[in-house]
C-alpha cells in the first residue's frame, strides 16, 4: 500500500535566480530523507516552482515502514576491547552480553541483531519534512517573525497532505494545512485542496500553471502560432525561453507588439 505526498511551500516572491536550484534542493533532500527512513517512493519526485511556491508531489510512498531485523557482524571474540566498544556504539548496544556469539567456521564472532518495528509513514513524515526544509540551502536566507526557520523570504503557508490528510507538521506560526492561494492579483482568497490532482486543477483555475515545462510549451506554441499569423519568423532563443520557463511567471500568454524602427538602433557617441 502506497500513498501520495503533496507538499507546497508558499512564500513571498523567491528571487528569480534562485528558483531552479531551490526546487532541485527540495526534491533531492526529500528523496534522501525518504530513503533514510526506508520509505523510498516507487516513482520519481515531481518538483515545481513559481515565483511564490515550491511544490513537491511524491507518488508511491509506502504507508508502512517495514518491520525488520538486521544482522551485523562485529569483531572476533577476544578482539581488543576498543574494537568491541566501537562496534557496540555503532549498533546502539551497551554491552557484549546483548550480542550473540556465533561460530562462522572461521572463528567465533559477535553478532548484533537490530530490530526495527513497523511504523506508519504518517508518524515519520512530519519530522522528515522538517528535516528536508532545514536542509534546503539558499544563497541568502532571512529570519522572519512567524517562524524560527530561516527561508529565502517569509513563508506564507505550507500545504502538506499525505493521502489527502493534513500532516501534523509544526512551523511555529506559519499556517500548515490544506490551503493554498492562486495568482497574486488575478485570484482572491484561500483555496482548499483535496489531493495533488485537485491541487493542479484548482491552481489552474486560479491562474497559476504550475508545471514549468507546460508553461514553456505553451509559450513556444504561442510563438509559432503568432509568427504564422503575422507572417514572421521566430528568432530562436533557448536561453530566454528557459528563463521565462522558470522565472517570475506563473501564467503563460503571449501578445505581439511592435517597435518603431527609430527605436531599433543604439545612439552613437
Amino acid at each position: 500500500m502506497t500513498g501520495e505526498l503533496l507538499l507546497e511551500l508558499l512564500s513571498e516572491e523567491i528571487p528569480a535566480r534562485m528558483q531552479r536550484r531551490a526546487i532541485e534542493e527540495l526534491t533531492r533532500h526529500l528523496d534522501e530523507w525518504l530513503r533514510v527512513h526506508r520509505i523510498p517512493p516507487t516513482e520519481p519526485i515531481r518538483g515545481y516552482v513559481t515565483a511564490r511556491r515550491l511544490t513537491a508531489i511524491v507518488n508511491g510512498i509506502p504507508k508502512q515502514l517495514p518491520e525488520s531485523n538486521e544482522e551485523r557482524r562485529g569483531p572476533r571474540v577476544g578482539a581488543p576491547q576498543q574494537a568491541l566498544d566501537g562496534f557496540l556504539r555503532s549498533v546502539g548496544l551497551d554491552s557484549a552480553e546483548q550480542c550473540e556469539v556465533r561460530d562462522t567456521g572461521r572463528g567465533e564472532f559477535y553478532f548484533a541483531v537490530i530490530h526495527r518495528s513497523g511504523r506508519a509513514a504518517v508518524e515519520v513524515l512530519p519530522d522528515l519534512i522538517y528535516s528536508t526544509l532545514m536542509g534546503v540551502e539558499w544563497p541568502k536566507s532571512m529570519r522572519f517573525p512567524a517562524a524560527r526557520l530561516s527561508w529565502v523570504r517569509p513563508l506564507t503557508s505550507v500545504l502538506c497532505l499525505f493521502d489527502g490528510q493534513v500532516l501534523p507538521l509544526s512551523l511555529d506560526e506559519v499556517p500548515v494545512g490544506r490551503m493554498t492561494r492562486g495568482h497574486r492579483f488575478l485570484s482572491q482568497g484561500e483555496i482548499a485542496v483535496e489531493n495533488a490532482a485537485d491541487y493542479l486543477d484548482r491552481l489552474e483555475a486560479a491562474y497559476v500553471i504550475l508545471d514549468q515545462d507546460r508553461r514553456r510549451d505553451i509559450i513556444a506554441a504561442d510563438l509559432d502560432r503568432l509568427a504564422q499569423n503575422e507572417g514572421l519568423t521566430v528568432k530562436p532563443d533557448p536561453s530566454l525561453l528557459e528563463e521565462v520557463r522558470i522565472r517570475n511567471i506563473s501564467l503563460a500568454s503571449s501578445p505581439t507588439g511592435r517597435w518603431r524602427r527609430a527605436f531599433c538602433s543604439s545612439p552613437t557617441t
Binding site: 534562485m18 541568502k140 536566507s141 517573525p145 529565502v152 523570504r153 517569509p154
Partner: protein, 302 residues
C-alpha cells in the same frame, strides 16, 4: 477618476500618510539633519533595534550630493523625497499592506504589472542589511521593500518591515510626466499652479554647484573630525556614577552629520578609493556605537 489634487505631489504624500496612519503608524515629520535615505532617521535606524513594537511613517528628504545634475537631468536630483514606513515586528501581511497603499493612490493592481524583484538592501555606513525587493510598477521601480536583518551590526529581533516610496518617481508615474520638474506639486489649476521645478529647480542648480565645486573641502574634513570626536565623546565618556550617562540620540546626530560630510567630500572628488573605504569604516564605527548605546539605554534613565 481621481481628482487632480489627489494625484498632485503633495496629494500623494497626504494620501500615503492617511493610509499609514490608518494602519496604526505614528506620522512623524522629517528628521532635521541631512541624511542620504529615510532609513537613517532615528525612527527607523534606532527603533528597528530591540524588542519593542513600533510603527511609524514619515517623509524624509534624501540628500545625495553626487546625484546632483544642476537641474538639467529629468530624473536625477541631489535632494529628493522618500516616504518611509517602518513596521515592527514585520506583519505577516506586509506585502498586502503595501499593495493596499498603492490602491489608496488609485493604482489598480489588476490593471498594472506589479512585481517584487529581488533587491537586497545594505548600507555600509549604517552597518545594516536586509532582504527584500524593489517593487516594479509597469517596469519602473517605485518602492523598496526590505525585511531588516541587522542594523549597526546588531541582529534585529524581531525583524521589521521597511518600505520606502520614491515619491518623485511615483508621482511622475501617476501623473504621466516625463520630467520631474514638470510635476504638478499642489494640484491647483491656472495661476495658482505650482510645479516641482517652481519649488526646487533653483535649489538643484545651486546645491549641485556647491556639492561639486564650491564646498570648502578643508572645512568639510574639519567638520567631519569634529562630528566624529563629539559622537565618540557622547558614547564613550559616559559615567553613570557621576550622573553623566551616555547619550545615544545626540551621539547619533553627530554620526549623521559625519555621514553627510563624507558624502559631500565624495561629491567634491577629493577622496581616493582607499580613503573612501576608511571613511565608510569610521562612520560605521560611529553608527555601531550609537546603536549599542541606544540598546543599552532602552528602559533606562530616560
Amino acid at each position: 477618476m481621481k481628482s487632480v489634487a489627489s494625484t498632485s505631489f503633495q496629494g500623494l504624500i497626504l494620501a500615503l500618510q492617511r493610509y499609514w496612519a490608518e494602519q496604526g503608524c505614528v506620522i512623524l515629520q522629517p528628521y532635521d539633519i541631512e541624511v542620504g535615505a529615510g532609513t537613517f532617521h532615528p525612527a527607523t535606524a534606532l527603533r528597528a533595534l530591540g524588542p519593542e513594537p513600533w510603527r511609524a511613517a514619515y517623509v524624509q528628504p534624501s540628500r545625495r550630493p553626487t546625484d546632483g545634475r544642476y537641474g538639467e537631468n529629468p530624473n536625477r536630483l541631489q535632494h529628493y523625497y522618500q516616504l518611509q514606513v517602518i513596521l515592527k515586528p514585520a506583519p505577516a501581511d506586509s506585502q498586502d499592506l503595501y499593495l493596499k497603499s498603492l490602491a489608496a493612490l488609485g493604482i489598480d493592481a489588476s490593471k498594472h504589472d506589479i512585481r517584487f524583484v529581488e533587491d537586497d538592501w545594505e548600507s555600509p555606513t549604517l552597518g545594516a542589511w536586509g532582504l527584500g525587493w524593489e517593487v516594479w510598477l509597469d517596469g519602473m521601480e517605485v518602492s523598496q521593500f526590505t525585511y531588516f536583518q541587522q542594523v549597526g551590526g546588531i541582529e534585529c529581533d524581531p525583524v521589521s518591515t521597511e518600505l520606502t516610496y520614491g515619491l518623485e518617481r511615483l508621482a511622475m508615474y501617476v501623473q504621466g510626466v516625463e520630467n520631474v520638474y514638470d510635476l504638478d506639486f499642489n494640484g491647483v489649476a491656472g495661476a495658482g499652479r505650482i510645479t516641482y521645478g517652481d519649488v526646487f529647480l533653483r535649489a538643484e542648480r545651486e546645491f549641485s554647484a556647491y556639492n561639486f565645486e564650491r564646498a570648502d573641502t578643508a572645512i568639510l574634513v574639519r567638520h567631519f573630525e569634529d562630528a566624529e570626536r563629539e559622537c565618540n565623546a557622547l558614547v564613550n565618556a559616559g559615567d553613570e556614577n557621576a550622573n553623566r550617562p551616555k547619550l545615544a540620540l545626540p551621539a547619533y546626530d553627530q554620526c549623521l552629520k559625519a555621514s553627510h560630510l563624507f558624502n559631500l567630500l565624495d561629491a567634491r572628488g577629493v577622496i581616493s578609493v582607499t580613503e573612501r573605504a576608511a571613511y565608510i569604516g569610521r562612520v560605521r564605527a560611529l553608527a555601531k556605537a550609537c546603536c549599542e548605546t541606544w540598546l543599552a539605554g532602552a528602559g533606562g534613565k530616560f
